[in-house]
């Protein structure tokens, strides 16, 4: 009996004396002195945030970074249900944050800043049976929707109830009906909205694509770039990435089952807010500053996102003054350059 417990004790002591434990303890000590910043963000950004932005932010500011990636709607739901209290929330599109803003009993956010635009694309795998056809579609020789409609083609996407990319794909497909003047496209490539044969959790979607279980998946262009997948660019009129087509985008929509909210097609803007439940306000402001800074913007750009001049929505008076000044200064600089 004592044998087992001495083994357990030995493991404890051994692991404590390894160098790496000090870095863990170090972080916890840093948490006491310079509080950690808890960032919840859209899962499509996971590689960029965990591998580059998090460490770069931590190095530059000294605030320990703690990130959790989830579908943006899911993040909003978790905040509303009281399961999480992040300091900072980066969302794909604005709807998850407006959900926080419009929450009837207590609003969990009061403003948002759109900071980068993204577009829908079709990622595919070199392991797919349809690889040649997909390559032809990529180079514009055959229509992409024809390849996706072929019998036996396995397409994957995320749940529109949890992940903005899920409803954006449905909207893109509906816009394709209008753009190509063929009302059957959406049904042929997606089937019904929550088609159980196509819907997978975000975290495993790209892995099963890689393993050859799927031929192609709906993704943002920046995800395809980050993960190194070949991808098919969609026309600007339907890829939700060009603000000049805002009116056209609005012609398609999806109704969220939870709360019966209608999502209209819109240019996809990645946006952020500091929720009202923030614990570490200084750290959160510092993170927002980092995202909007030249360094942050170039990291996002390398990850395939398209940084834009920040656009504020909601109760802009509540935006922390430091960030507000940053935005205004940026706009002044642009004015003088012009």
């Amino acid at each position: 009996m004592t044998g087992v417990f001495s083994i357990l004790a030995a493991i404890l002591i051994f692991s404590i004396s390894i160098d790496s434990i000090w870095s863990v303890v170090g972080i916890s000590q840093a948490q006491i002195y310079k509080g950690k910043v808890f960032v919840m963000y859209a899962a499509s950004l996971i590689k960029t945030f965990e591998e580059i932005i998090g460490p770069a932010f931590q190095k530059e500011t000294g605030y320990p970074y703690q990130g959790e990636a989830r579908g943006s709607i899911q993040v909003a739901n978790m905040i509303i249900d009281g399961l999480r209290k992040p300091d900072f929330f980066v969302s794909a599109g604005t709807i998850p944050i407006t959900k926080l803003m419009n929450n009837t009993s207590t609003p969990f956010a009061e403003w948002l800043l759109k900071f980068a635009s993204a577009e829908m694309a079709i990622s595919y795998s070199p392991n797919s049976r349809f690889y040649n056809d997909l390559e032809q579609a990529r180079t514009g020789h055959i229509p992409w929707y024809e390849v996706l409609s072929k019998p036996g083609f396995k397409f994957g996407r995320t749940d529109p109830e949890l992940d903005p990319k899920g409803y954006y794909m449905i909207i893109t497909a509906k816009l394709a009906n209008l753009y190509y003047n063929d009302s059957g496209i959406k049904q042929k490539i997606l089937g019904e909205d929550r088609n159980t044969k196509q819907i997978f959790p975000e975290e495993i979607l790209k892995t099963i694509l890689e393993q050859g279980q799927l031929d192609a998946v709906a993704s943002y262009k920046h995800e395809a770039i980050a993960r190194g997948f070949p991808y098919i660019t969609l026309p600007d009129q339907i890829n939700l990435g060009d603000p000049t087509f805002t009116d056209f985008y609005r012609k398609a929509s999806y109704i969220l089952q939870a709360g019966s909210q209608t999502v209209f097609g819109e240019p996809i803007y990645f946006s952020f807010t500091i929720p009202t439940t923030v614990g570490n306000l200084d750290g959160a402001i510092s993170f927002g500053d980092f995202i909007l800074s030249a360094n942050g913007k170039s990291i996002l750009q390398e990850g395939g996102l398209n940084p834009i001049k920040p656009i504020a929505e909601g109760n802009t008076a509540k935006i922390p003054s430091y960030l507000r000044n940053m935005i205004e200064e940026g706009q002044e600089k642009e004015a003088t350059v012009l």
Binding site: T2, S15, V24, I46, K47, L83, R84, T207
Partner: protein, 272 residues
């Protein structure tokens, strides 16, 4: 002839079982390159996650042993009405999907709960404490059930004789019951520890950060697919090897297997 048929059947079934377990691992290893794997294995976050899993699982198992073994003794030896309810309660953490357990635990330990509000400085979630709470919850059935079975398997006449000879309940427990139930309890401890290390769903809710090795594998997969997740997977498989070694060293049966019989008999008499 029938004798041979029985042996062959056992061998075939065992062979299929082994292949089923080992084949997925073999196929993953086949598509990694050694250089890439080495790079992936030396990342500090993987080792941090591994250490966190080892340390937290050890603490969880120790706490669980402190409470679970006495409770198992209670279940085995005390007669009370309503034991049926207790038995159901014990297996609930086993039956609940871990994500559900985690969500329920968040209700108790989450930022809005009254318990947490009475301890303002303590971080119950998104911390190592959160990891430990999640692990204790999901591992508890293993500790309790294994220990209970171990106690129940000890011939009651030993205890009765000890009592007749003047030992009280406490002395009987430590001198007679515990040593005789040792192997079963150790198995319970090891299973609880392993379950704690392998825990993912409840930890994802209670403490996504700091990453345990399970969460690190999960995140690595989300970021870079299986190629990136393999390093964590390999560490865990190495752990499996270590566990079997520990089992061999610490249990009498294990030592017998290793033919260290003499060591077994001399140290067990000194262990009291």
């Amino acid at each position: 002839m029938k004798h041979q048929g029985f042996n062959i059947a056992i061998l075939i079934l065992s062979g299929i079982t082994v292949a089923y377990i080992i084949y997925p691992l073999v196929t993953i290893l086949s598509f990694t390159e050694p250089a890439e794997l080495l790079n992936s294995l030396t990342r500090p976050q993987v080792w941090n996650a591994f250490i966190i899993s080892l340390v937290s699982a050890t603490i969880s198992t120790s706490v669980l042993a402190l409470f679970g073994i006495p409770f198992a003794y209670f279940l085995a030896k005390y007669t009370i009405p309503g034991k049926f309810v207790l038995r159901v309660i014990v297996i609930i953490p086993l039956v609940l999907p871990p994500l559900a357990s985690g969500a329920l635990l968040l209700g108790v330990f989450g930022p809005n709960s009254p318990l947490v509000k009475s301890f303002p400085g303590v971080e119950f979630t998104q911390s190592i404490l959160g990891v430990i709470i999640a692990q204790i919850y999901v591992s508890s059935p293993f500790m309790i059930l294994a220990s209970q079975a171990a106690f129940e398997s000890v011939d009651e006449s030993y205890e009765k004789i000890a009592r007749v000879l003047g030992n009280n309940r406490l002395e009987t427990f430590f001198r007679i019951l515990l040593p005789l139930a040792k192997t079963g309890i150790i198995i319970g401890v090891i299973m609880s520890w392993v379950r704690a290390v392998g825990e993912l769903g409840a930890t994802m809710m209670m403490a996504y950060n700091p990453h345990t090795i399970s969460i690190q594998i999960f995140e690595d997969n989300a970021i870079g697919g299986l190629r990136q997740a393999i390093s964590g997977i390999i560490l865990v498989v190495v752990l499996a090897i270590l566990i079997v070694i520990i089992f061999y060293i610490t249990t009498t049966k294990g030592r017998q297997i290793l033919s260290l019989g003499n060591l077994a008999s001399s140290s067990s008499s000194g262990e009291q």
